[in-house]
């Protein structure tokens, strides 16, 4: 080799070496993961982190009640005038007073309230100060009065009373214009710096794709109730399934010249390695002893609890979970008149109550009760007036917030005047929200570590509303 390298030759060689080194490092990184993959008996290489949850760990769990929960039958007036008016307005949807579960909010509003008979666990959490209610919260572009609504004098959320539009608006909190991100995703983008590792995303969905967790930087990662979703054959150690899986991995590992193929191969490789890593971490994490009900909500929340327990091994100090339960669009058969506590709505409420209670107990078991906050959301509330067999699409709704950090045992916001045609009604008993989704989300985001100056990054419309912190955390 000649020692008389020209400057041009030297620079050219150096560049090639740099590119080569980049490729080598990249390959080494891949080999580290693929090496683990290639030795299934050994399992993937776990990050060198372990132990209990750090004191500054926090998790938010969004429990989305898909279809529109009729919270008019979750929180029921329990004084004589209030209950009688409730029966008169709701007719066949009215629950019998016997069996209702009384609650005693710390801040009385002059009315007495009770919960649906199917949620004794939530009543217990409320009474113990571990759960709070947020009254009449919903999508708003600006604070809106009935007069403004009827006169159409303030901008209103697009497509009120429509399922998918309201679901999206609850999850992105931008009801007046299209948004490509959800508020959970924007929140994750902002606080992801807390995490020392991003091998597994801090945004995990237990219910598939959702708008809530769509961020610009942090991607949502979908996990099943049994763990990360894997390709068929990924757990096999021999035979045809094993051979097919290895062949797939080899194909995904080959260099691709076309951009689309390269991206597809890269994502597929990443999916395989992420799944193997997460499942390995889950399998080595301490099992959770708390019993969960074997239901849709119970199984999802059980996995959320397991992922919280695994957070130290994943290098995560912030996690956002999305859990979902469908079936709340109770236009028909909302309840059975012969036994009003056994209809479709009662069954769903019971499932939520039991699953949320188990989840809270699991966080206590993990020593993380004060670091995990669960909150419910839904498309919209439902009409106070019965349609004869159920209730139709409404607007404002009541939500639960559960966790050790919650200033529980109280109702935040303002319960609406439960009068069809009253000051809080559009028509039909569709309550105009007196608290916005922005205020609800801002309170949660503030607890999660977002500074007041950064709130508008997560919630662009928050400046339009009076209370960026509702005080329930």
């Amino acid at each position: 080799m000649s020692s008389d390298l020209s400057r041009r030759q030297f620079l050219g060689s150096a560049c090639c070496a740099a590119v080569g080194a980049t490729g080598l490092l990249s390959s080494l990184a891949s080999l580290r993961l693929m090496g683990a993959v290639a030795s299934p008996a050994n399992g993937p290489q776990l990050p060198a982190r372990a132990g209990a949850l750090p004191s500054d760990y926090k998790a938010l769990v969004c429990l989305f009640l898909n279809g529109g929960n009729d919270a008019n039958n979750l929180v029921i007036p329990n004084d004589d005038p209030g209950y009688n008016a409730y029966v008169a307005a709701r007719s066949n949807l009215a629950l019998p007073r016997t069996g209702l579960l009384p609650i005693a909010p710390k801040t009385p509003d002059g009315r007495a309230w009770a919960l649906h008979a199917a949620v004794p666990e939530l009543q217990g959490l409320f009474g113990a100060g571990r759960a709070a209610l947020l009254a009449n919260v919903g999508t708003l572009v600006y604070p809106t009065t009935r007069a403004q609504y009827l006169a159409n004098s303030v901008p209103l959320p697009r497509q009120l009373f429509s399922h998918s539009d309201q679901q999206v608006q609850w999850q992105n909190s931008v009801p007046d214009k299209p948004s490509t991100t959800g508020w959970g995703g924007r929140l994750a983008d902002l606080v992801n710096a807390f995490n020392s590792n991003n091998e597994i995303s801090m945004s995990i969905s237990l219910a598939g794709k959702n708008y809530f967790q769509v961020g610009r930087v942090v991607n949502q990662y979908s996990v099943g109730t049994g763990g990360a979703v894997t390709l068929s054959g990924s757990t096999a150690t021999s035979g045809a399934d094993f051979a097919r899986f290895q062949t797939q991995k080899d194909l995904f590992g080959q260099a691709q010249s076309a951009l689309f193929e390269a991206a597809f191969a890269g994502i597929s490789r990443s999916a395989i390695t992420d799944a193997e890593l997460l499942n390995a971490v889950l399998s080595r994490s301490t099992p959770i002893a708390t019993a969960f009900p074997n239901t849709t909500a119970g199984n999802q929340l059980r996995m959320a609890a397991r992922l919280i327990a695994a957070a130290p091994n994943l290098g995560l100090k912030r996690q956002v979970f999305f859990v979902q339960l469908g079936g709340w669009d109770t236009h028909a058969a909302q309840l059975l008149n012969t036994a009003p506590t056994t209809g479709a709505h009662a069954g769903l409420l019971a499932q939520v109550s039991q699953a949320v209670d188990a989840f809270y107990k699991a966080t206590v078991e993990l020593g993380a009760a004060e670091q995990v906050t669960l909150f419910t959301t839904s498309d919209f509330g439902r009409t106070y007036r019965s349609n004869g067999d159920g209730s139709d699409h409404g607007w404002g709704n009541h939500q639960f917030i559960v966790g050790g950090a919650v200033k529980g045992g109280d109702i935040y916001g303002r319960m609406p005047v439960l009068t069809v045609g009253g000051p809080d009604d559009t028509t039909q008993g569709r309550w105009i929200p007196t608290t916005s989704v922005d205020e609800f989300a801002a309170t949660l985001a503030t607890w999660f570590g977002v500074s007041p100056t950064d709130l508008s990054t997560v919630l662009p419309n928050i400046g339009r509303f009076a209370k960026p912190n509702l005080g329930f955390l």
Binding site: A151, S153, R158, H163, D165, H331, A332
Partner: protein
């Protein structure tokens, strides 16, 4: 040159007015039905309209729903007619999509209580009951199920007039 341009602009404006005028309904009577983003500010609500110098031509009556509930017709065709009316509405309100609310509110919007005063169903259509609801051929109000800005389920209670029973007829979007 400026005069020619001004004349052309004036002619275009006049032509536009002539083209749009047949679809414009007189201002609606204020009603308790709810607001709709498609409605926009209603200049006629709560105040008299100024008298125009030239009486407008009588509004052209939309024929989109003429065959709705017609004798000899059948419910599936009726549902498609209603779906067609909604589709036409959406094509005129691309930003907002379907009319929002319950049957009475949706019917009010379809009969002209909207920003363009576009009456796709005449307000005196026999399918509209006293409560302002659009009804099926057995006299029961249709049930509108808003799934999204572009998807609306339409349900008829069927001959037994009981919603959510076995003989209901549903047009899914």
């Amino acid at each position: 040159m400026k005069r020619i341009v001004a004349g052309a602009v004036a002619f275009a404006v006049l032509l536009l007015l002539v083209v749009l005028a047949p679809w414009r309904q007189p201002p609606p009577t204020p009603s308790p039905v709810a607001a709709n983003p498609a409605i926009g500010p209603s200049p006629g609500l709560g105040q008299p309209e100024p008298s125009p110098a030239v009486p407008p031509p009588p509004p052209e009556r939309s024929t989109l729903a003429d065959a709705l509930n017609a004798p000899g017709g059948e419910i599936h065709a009726d549902l498609k007619i209603v779906a067609g009316v909604l589709e036409t509405f959406r094509s005129n309100f691309l930003q907002t999509g379907n009319p929002a609310g319950n049957n009475a509110e949706i019917t009010a919007t379809l009969t002209g209580r909207n920003r363009l005063r576009l009456a796709l169903i005449p307000a005196d259509h026999p399918a509209i009951n006293r409560e302002g609801e659009l009804c099926d051929r057995w006299g029961t109000p249709f049930f509108f199920h808003a799934e999204s800005a572009t998807r609306m389920g339409i349900r008829s209670a069927g001959p037994d007039r009981r919603m959510w029973s076995e003989d209901d007829v549903v047009l899914e979007p």
